[in-house]
């Protein structure tokens, strides 16, 4: 049973629900700090612990971040929008209800755009709504106790709900990456799935190709990485296909993804789903946002990743792939642009950054913050390379040295005596000497053993201590060998 076989007759239909924590200083409804990670229950107030009489008050900053995000995702802002109470009992939910938006969310009908295998895709958004996060239960099974940490309680979240328009695991992954990129460009969310500040549930159904109705959907939870998203979707499609082949029905249910076992388990069926008893939150007034206020936020939006990617494709003559890599973070795109513009050799800047710079960064987001060589320093190095004063290998060597010593390229080049030998006469005399010194190899080469060309190149560079301009050397060697 394979995905290829499946794809011959069926297709997957996927909708994603993404929860993104907003990086405000304070929580959504409570005056407690949103910068925690400290000891349990240290970042709480009487509001996010649900003490009797404590009332929620909306954090203006969170609303601003949420609206910015919605505008960047081409949504229509709904005003007034309304917060509701969603009820269920759980120890990590101190009030016994979560304040969330229900039938009147603040943003509707947007889209996420991205490139998949060179093709532009646009996936619709149903809605985005604001809500508060719950706390965390910590279970100590061996001691038979459970504890509650409310640091996360009332942290601002936006839930971004896509239309069921995604058709493959790859596409779902590309959508999620594109969405995360927008949030990071806007600096509203850290976008870290492993840390749980960017979470994704997937609604998955399958149907025969050509079928227009949707199949019964299954909601997959606990997906904590991009890799797991793709694996969970593929696994679910095959699980459902298997059921259909056995003439069994797919049950509408919520399943939990187990990354270790590489399978999902049923959490609850539709019948067991809680009745959340939503009703409008009486402690908060409907939220009205004026058109002027919204327009000002729209005008203040930075250049968005997809616009930037397309600009890179056009202005810097990059492929979709290159442009996407270079715009994968705002910092990286800034870095590239600051180098490519003065260097005026876009391919050189693009290739060097993609092969050499990115390889030495652990995390592209955080890696560039305190990174050396910074843009001016790398520009200087690449100028040397562009002018032929350094070979690519030398440039890489200098780059590595710059990273550790944090010294400019010029200093390292002069200290190490690194400079490329471009002088034809020096190179030619070297080539001649090498050929003379290896008559046996010359014979074999002439007899047709072409491979030996590399041997001669190697010997020449050895003589030149690796500083010979490779292109010139190659041309001269070809010429001399022909004449010998």
């Amino acid at each position: 049973m394979s995905l290829e076989e499946f794809s011959k007759s069926h297709e997957i239909v996927i909708g994603l629900e993404v929860h993104a924590q907003l990086t405000t200083d304070f929580k959504l409804m409570s005056p407690a700090s949103n910068r925690f990670g400290k000891s349990p229950n240290s970042s709480v107030s009487s509001v996010c612990t649900g003490m009797p009489g404590a009332l929620p008050v909306l954090n203006q900053k969170a609303i601003e971040m949420a609206v910015k995000t919605a505008l960047a995702l081409h949504c229509k802002i709904q005003s007034p929008n309304v917060f509701s109470r969603k009820h269920y009992f759980y120890p990590d939910l101190p009030k016994g209800y979560q304040i969330s938006q229900y039938d009147l969310p603040y943003a509707k009908s947007g889209r996420v755009e991205f490139y998949l295998e060179g093709q532009k895709r646009s996936v619709g958004l149903q809605r985005i709504h604001m809500e508060e996060d719950a706390g965390k239960n910590l279970h100590f099974g061996d001691q038979g106790i459970s504890l509650v940490d409310l640091n996360r309680s009332s942290v601002p979240l936006i839930e971004i709900v896509s239309e069921p328009e995604l058709r493959s695991a790859d596409e779902a992954g590309a959508y999620l990456r594109a969405l995360r990129r927008v949030l990071r460009y806007l600096e509203v969310c850290d976008g870290n799935m492993e840390e749980g500040n960017f979470r994704c549930d997937a609604n998955v159904s399958i149907r025969k190709q050509g079928e227009t109705r949707l199949g019964t959907r299954v909601e997959l939870k606990n997906i904590n990485s991009f890799r797991n998203l793709e694996r969970a979707i593929q696994n679910e499609a095959l699980r459902q296909w298997d059921l259909l082949k056995q003439d069994k029905l797919v049950v509408q249910e919520t399943r939990s993804w187990d990354a270790n076992e590489n399978l999902s388990r049923s959490m609850r069926s539709k019948e067991e789903a809680a009745d959340y008893r939503y009703f409008p939150e009486p402690d908060l007034l409907p939220l009205s946002l004026s058109d002027d206020w919204i327009e000002n936020r729209r005008k203040a939006l930075p250049e968005l990743p997809l616009d930037r990617m397309e600009r890179f494709m056009k202005d810097f003559e990059r492929s979709a792939y290159d442009a996407e890599v270079l715009t994968s973070s705002k910092q990286l795109a800034d870095y590239f642009e600051e180098i490519a513009l003065p260097l005026k050799d876009y391919s050189l800047a693009s290739n060097f950054i993609q092969t050499t710079v990115l390889a030495s960064l652990q995390d592209v987001e955080k890696g560039l913050e305190d990174f050396y060589p910074d843009a001016p320093a790398l520009t200087e190095l690449l100028q040397e390379l562009k002018q032929g004063k350094l070979s690519l290998n030398m440039a890489k060597e200098v780059f590595e040295e710059m990273k550790t010593s944090r010294q400019p390229a010029s200093k390292i080049i002069s200290e190490k005596g690194l400079s490329q030998v471009n002088d034809d006469s020096i190179l030619r005399s070297c080539v001649k000497t090498v050929i003379q010194n290896h008559p046996a190899q010359l014979e074999q080469f002439k007899a047709g053993k072409d491979k030996l060309f590399g041997f001669f190149m190697g010997q020449c560079q050895k003589e030149l201590k690796g500083k010979g301009n490779p292109a010139t050397l190659k041309a001269l060697l070809e010429e001399e060998l022909k004449q010998s």
């Binding site: 009489g53 009332l55 008050v57 009992f89 101190p94 459970s146 009745d275 009486p282």
Partner: protein, 481 residues
């Protein structure tokens, strides 16, 4: 002059020192409380501290030294806060309600936390898990609810003023039953922060005291916007005390419902006193206009959907996880929550949680909650229309005299109906006061209501102050010692 202003004057004229006053009063308060059950706890230590602060001048302000009762649903930092429920028996408030902070800043003394119906749900005070407060005019009768302890404490002279809360009449009904004045402010006039929520869209804190001027003094201090409550509105706070100065009521138009004032179900004495009160307003120059609000009969039905729905939600936090009562033995999380709540809540609270949960559940929401909200909007509209024609409305406060204690518990419906004259006002979010207009044949007080436009508290107080000068209410001897 009400006792609150009398005492303010005495302190000002140094007729008594704070220390002397409290040395005299505290024994009397404690003695009477044995009979009345008005306070669930008298804060002897806190009073001692506050009196010391008053003596040293550290505690001062426009309410300096005034003994107040605080309904046990309003937080006072460090003090127990039970909502008259077993579920919060040993709970202490982590910080003071905004209204308490404001009273504290003006030098008030908090004598104790006053009795009430559990989570403010009830009209007789008999839903208190700690036993009902009693009516100072007849100890066998209810002081009304839910702010019964506050009313009992004011009427029984265990304080000079009190805070109550009013969700469906919980300030006005006890005020009427105990022959005092109680004001339910406009929804949004007073902060609810730190006040245990019953029905968030209806709850409002308000003053209870002897007369208009005494209520005005307290209202002045507690009113105004609050960064801790988004529903406390940024509306200018007028000078309510000044509003009580003598002024004619010429040009004042008052609407009344003949159905209400002359209803057959109203006791004769009520009809008579309501007519007398009406005549006094007329003497002052006010003109009365008959006015029937036809949707009002639906208000009880709407209220008993909306209030329980919100209550079922507000009371979800009492789960035994972080504070409050937790059952002793349990096998599972679910059992812990269910048992803790089953043991901690009283019958009326459970009844309303069940009604509310049902009304909000999927499949019933539209038929109940949405329909009730629709009725509520009709009632709001009807009041708005009425206030285009008149300035105030004049209604009874209660259709019947104070309930005999221990007789009606088993019929919640008949108790619900006692709120017929008060509930529409909460649904519309309007300000209203209940004031004493006389006594029935059993010497039990009778109350009437004035209802005003949103944020027209000054107009209400001005009119009542004028009425009081025209027709003073004579306080008859109390039944307590």
């Amino acid at each position: 002059m009400g006792r609150l202003h009398q005492l303010l004057r005495n302190f000002k004229e140094k007729k008594a020192s704070y220390r002397e006053y409290y040395s005299d009063e505290m024994p009397k308060i404690k003695r009477r409380n044995e009979e009345l059950g008005a306070y669930l706890e008298i804060f002897e230590e806190l009073v001692e501290t506050q009196v010391t602060e008053l003596e040293s001048g550290k505690r001062a302000g426009r309410l300096a030294g005034l003994p107040l009762a605080i309904k046990d649903i309003i937080s006072i930092q460090g003090q127990r806060l039970t909502a008259a429920s077993k579920i919060l028996e040993n709970y202490r408030a982590p910080r003071s309600a905004t209204v308490v902070e404001r009273l504290d800043r003006e030098g008030a003394v908090f004598v104790g936390r006053s009795n009430c119906d559990e989570f403010a749900m009830g009209s007789s005070n008999e839903n208190s898990a700690y036993g009902p407060a009693k009516n100072p005019f007849d100890l066998s009768r209810s002081p009304g609810g839910s702010s019964g302890g506050s009313a009992s404490a004011v009427a029984g002279e265990l304080c000079v003023g009190a805070l109550g809360t009013d969700t469906g009449g919980s300030i006005r009904l006890p005020a009427a039953f105990c022959g005092i004045t109680g004001l339910k402010p406009t929804y949004g006039r007073v902060s609810r922060s730190g006040v245990i929520a019953f029905a968030s869209s209806l709850d409002q804190v308000g003053p209870m005291a002897d007369d208009a001027l005494d209520c005005a003094e307290i209202l002045q201090v507690i009113s105004g916007a609050d960064p801790r409550d988004s529903t406390a509105m940024k509306v200018p706070v007028e000078d309510f005390v000044k509003a009580c100065e003598p002024s004619p009521l010429k040009d004042l138009k008052i609407g009344y419902s003949p159905d209400y004032l002359e209803s057959e179900s109203l006791p004769e004495a009520y009809k008579k006193e309501l007519q007398e009160a009406k005549r006094s307003f007329e003497k002052l120059g006010a003109k009365f206009y008959p006015m029937t609000l036809e949707h009002l009969p639906y208000s009880i039905a709407a209220y008993y959907i909306i209030a329980p729905a919100e209550a079922s939600s507000n009371l979800a936090r009492y789960d035994g996880v972080r504070f409050g009562h937790r059952t002793k033995a349990f096998e599972s999380l679910k059992e812990m929550i269910v048992q803790s709540r089953s043991e901690g809540f009283g019958d009326e609270v459970k009844r309303r949680i069940m009604i509310g949960s049902f009304a909000l559940s999927s499949g019933y929401f539209d038929a109940y909650y949405s329909k009730a909200q629709f009725v509520r909007s009709l009632i709001q509209k009807e009041f708005l229309e009425a206030f285009k024609k008149v300035d105030l409305l004049f209604w009874p406060s209660s259709p019947r005299p104070p309930f005999p204690l221990g007789k009606e518990e088993k019929d919640p419906l008949s108790l619900y109906l006692a709120d017929i004259f008060t509930i529409p006002v909460n649904l519309a979010g309007l300000p209203a006061l209940s004031f004493p207009i006389g006594y029935d044949e059993d010497s039990l007080p009778i109350g009437a209501q004035l209802i005003g436009r949103a944020f027209a508290e000054a107009e209400l107080l001005r009119s009542l102050a004028a009425y009081e000068r025209e027709r003073p209410f004579e306080k008859r001897p109390l039944a307590c010692h």
